[in-house]
Symmetry: C2
Subunit: 289 residues, 2 copies
């Protein structure tokens, strides 16, 4: 069995699905939950996701050989601070945060230096749902998990976390913290901002009810991610503001170029942009890249 006692700090979709997958694989012994809300933790007990729980991190991590942090990015530092001095010697720590530089900084700030047992990680999976109720064992199946080990990370800790995700059916890769944050800003954080801001722009227009009424299927798909958790996305935007800021500047520049092309009826430039985008999208969907 890979993990004897797993402490899950934040028992929601991400933490709950990890536990379910490890239970299915038969690779986890006892699971201790931690969170602020009692109803959610009680529900997690009923669902058989966790075996017991504590509200305080220092108690939850006791005797755990693996600690998984699935709290909002803004709550990472305080969680790291609380576990300091309460971990057993061989405990490995990993997380599921959507941005990595900020988590590494939070960990360094809390521990004074980066513990060799800390393996920053990010499973690229999720739904618009949240809470333990929405969790399921197959969430990470065939999904990519990016681990961003730092210089201090020990090979043993890294191997344990890598094995854990492989047991969940994930495709595990490694990259640097900085590169992770750039790639995610481009493919996830920016698209979420675009969807939120499109729906918000429309909702601020006069007669917005009528406008939404005429929205077709494309609009529904395009804006699905605008139904995501606002608090989580606020945290992500702030946590990854450097990489995201760069992407927004690039994107606003392209939109202004397009606005000029539309205004001037620049048929050639519009066709060039649309064709290049379609080719990239079709190539991506066909799985060539």
């Amino acid at each position: 069995m890979l993990i004897s006692r797993l402490a899950v700090i934040g028992v929601g979709l991400i933490g709950g699905s990890l536990v379910r997958a490890l239970r299915t694989a038969g690779e986890v012994g006892e699971v201790v939950g931690c969170g602020r809300g009692k109803p959610n933790l009680e529900r997690a007990m009923e669902l058989g996701v966790i075996d017991r729980y504590h509200h305080r991190v220092e108690e939850a991590v006791e005797g755990a050989d693996l600690v998984f942090l699935a709290v909002p990015l803004g709550a990472m530092e305080s969680a790291f601070r609380s576990m300091r001095g309460h971990l057993q010697p061989n405990a490995v720590i990993t997380d599921g945060g959507s941005a990595k530089a900020c988590v590494v900084e939070a960990c360094r700030a809390a521990f004074g230096e980066l513990p060799s047992a800390f393996v920053p990680g990010h499973p690229i999976a999720g739904t618009e749902e949240s809470g333990v109720e929405a969790s399921f064992a197959e969430l990470y199946h065939n999904r990519r998990v990016i681990l961003t080990p730092v210089e201090e990370t020990s090979p043993e800790a890294l191997e344990k976390v890598e094995t854990m995700w492989r047991l969940c059916g994930s495709d595990v890769t490694q990259m640097s913290v900085e590169h992770h944050d750039e790639v995610l800003a481009a493919t996830s954080h920016l698209p979420h901002l675009l969807a939120f801001s499109l729906v918000d722009t429309l909702s601020r227009m006069k007669e917005n009810d009528e406008i939404f009424r005429y929205a077709a299927g494309g609009f529904r798909d395009f804006t699905r991610i605008a139904s995501s958790n606002p608090v989580m996305w606020r945290d992500i935007c702030i946590a990854n503001k450097q990489a995201l800021g760069k992407m927004m500047t690039l994107y606003i520049g392209e939109m202004q170029e397009l606005a000029t092309a539309v205004d001037q009826g620049d048929s050639e430039l519009l066709l060039e942009i649309f064709s290049r985008a379609k080719a990239a999208r079709d190539r991506y969907i066909d799985g060539i890249v």
Copy 2:
């Protein structure tokens, strides 16, 4: 039978699906196709969508009591010009163009004045596929069709077109040409531009292959519409440039506001925008609006 002889100018997804729905309803007699490409028209014959075809509009409309125009917006004026003087006296003309002011102007320019038999229309339906091969009888089922009759439009022509779409299972509504173009700029044309420009921005970055590789499900949905036909969307953007230009200005303004909020770590403003967007999106999906 509502239509004795239907002339379909442009036998693709839109025109082909209309014919299939009318045939299923048993409300059309002979169907005459018109287009430039012989292979597509031959395929439409094989599929039983059309009974015969002509390459010239003037021949195709002969003896038709309803003419349906499903050509690209940029080809509307020349199609109207070609049919002038070749229509039978009681022929009703309608179209499926995604922008309406430009079609009305094209018709006026071609005929000198707007014929009372012309009913501008727009079925809010489609897929990323195109061509008669992709057409199917249920495309318009439970979809909205917007008719934008002008002052000159006769009540009889309007009624015939309205009945035609109802027979296809559509939910038919009327609005002014200007209002249609604003609503569609907001809910369809702008989202397509955003998707095209997002994918294009990423495809122009270094290491774009790798970036696309890490894109998750949200990205796939969000950018699905960037696989749409580039020529069609170039035509739509140019045809509806006034309403679209206004929406782009609004949207770029909101994106700039968001960029400042991210840069300054303005947590409250980000949360306000994301929460308002999520509420609007959830309300829209729940079908309250």
